[in-house]
Amino acid sequence: MKLYRTSTVLVGVLFVLLGGLTRLATPEKVYDSENREIVHGTIGETLKYRDSTITVHRMKVAKAYVYNDDKPVETNGAFVAVEYETVRGTEEVGSNDATLTTDDGTEYRPVAATIVNGADFAEPGFARSGSLVFEVNTADLNGLTLNFVTVQFWTVLTQDVSVDLGVPDEKVAQQLVDTAAPEYVIPKSVTRVA
């Protein structure tokens, strides 16, 4: 039997070309992770998340949080509360995980009380406001950044949102901790027409 028939060689060449094509197809922008495009922004900025938007309105630091008229829950560190609003476009948004990261590489996650642990979206055409509360270490707040990381089952090209919460150095962090409110009442999520 002839090992190198013309068709065999052709198929081989085709595979090599296909490999090259997929290299060409990878996006030109440099992403932090190959399959994640990160939209960066600051507090108050309306950020695109596919055809929906996320706006972080304010950040608050508190020594305790209150949820659903329960007893206040205290901490050895502090609680950082982030209030956001989302406007849902027509595209599917899936779900996302919210994290707070610092310059030291620490990752904080929302407290379990609020059940939702990411930005919550309403039906298409509606806006929803929500609040996420994170327990944090007061000595590790530099470069505090809020991230909405899209949860995915298959690794495909997706988009994340990253919001700079404006804590550039220790002085600002200390100030935030010093002026922390004694209590943060977690507001109820509100849905309205966008």
């Binding site: 329960d70 007893k71 829950v73 205290e74 901490t75 050895n76 560190g77 030291d104 590489g105 620490t106 990752e107 904080y108 996650r109 929302p110 407290v111 379990a112 009380a113 994170f134 327990e135 944090v136 270490n137 000595a139 590790d140």
Partner: protein, 208 residues
């Protein structure tokens, strides 16, 4: 052209196969029956016995990305009421600290990481995670001091004991084998038994 020898050989082979066929069939049937019996009686479980140290409470030790400080335990009985049957639960009081030096990541303690070791060859009972400051499923922050928490185990209503044993599992920070396409970045997984703690236990009856 077939020779006579070939024909005779074929005949002998035929006989041999036929002579042993029933034995083979019986052996095969036995294997199938054995598999079915083992499956229906709850599978094959290897009982290894205890492979980790047993220590007395109070004690503090590290297990994976947590540091546990075990203090006391309680059996709480709920008597039978008009609508509910009698119930019992075991509550373990322990301190939990996140010592995740690898990822510096907040994490909540999964219920299967703390077990009530019943003994007598029975499966251990899983906890319900850590309840701290009145909030269930507490998310432990790296860098903060240890949090005093409790965890709950559902036990039969007639459960007794004055020295209960609790098993703690530890995850390890390593990566999967990338050969089959899995990411080779390490992460916390592969939980293994790390420590058994013997805790003096009091029994109380809860009245509503």
């Amino acid at each position: 052209m077939e020779s006579l020898d070939d024909v005779i050989d074929a005949m002998i082979a035929d006989r041999v196969i036929h002579r042993h066929r029933r034995k083979w069939l019986i052996a095969l049937a036995l294997v199938v029956v054995l598999v079915v019996v083992i499956l229906f009686t709850g599978g094959w479980k290897e009982k290894k016995g205890r492979t980790v140290d047993t220590v007395d409470a109070p004690t503090t030790f590290e297990a994976g990305r947590y540091e546990f400080g075990v203090t006391s335990a309680q059996i709480i009985r709920t008597p039978k009421t008009k609508y509910d049957p009698a119930k019992a639960r075991v509550e373990l009081s322990f301190d939990v600290k996140n010592i995740d030096d690898e990822e510096h990541k907040s994490n909540s303690l999964s219920g299967k990481m703390v077990l009530l070791v019943v003994g007598g060859g029975e499966d251990p009972i899983e906890s319900n995670g850590a309840t701290c400051r009145g909030a269930i499923n507490w998310v432990f922050v790296y860098g903060l001091p240890a949090e005093s928490c409790t965890t709950k185990f559902e036990v039969p209503a007639n459960f007794t004991g004055d020295k209960l044993e609790f098993g703690f599992l530890a995850e390890s920070y390593d990566s999967d084998i990338g050969l089959l396409g899995a990411s080779e970045d390490p992460y916390w997984h592969n939980e293994k038994a790390a420590m058994v703690v013997r805790v003096p236990t009091t029994t109380t009856t809860e009245t509503k």
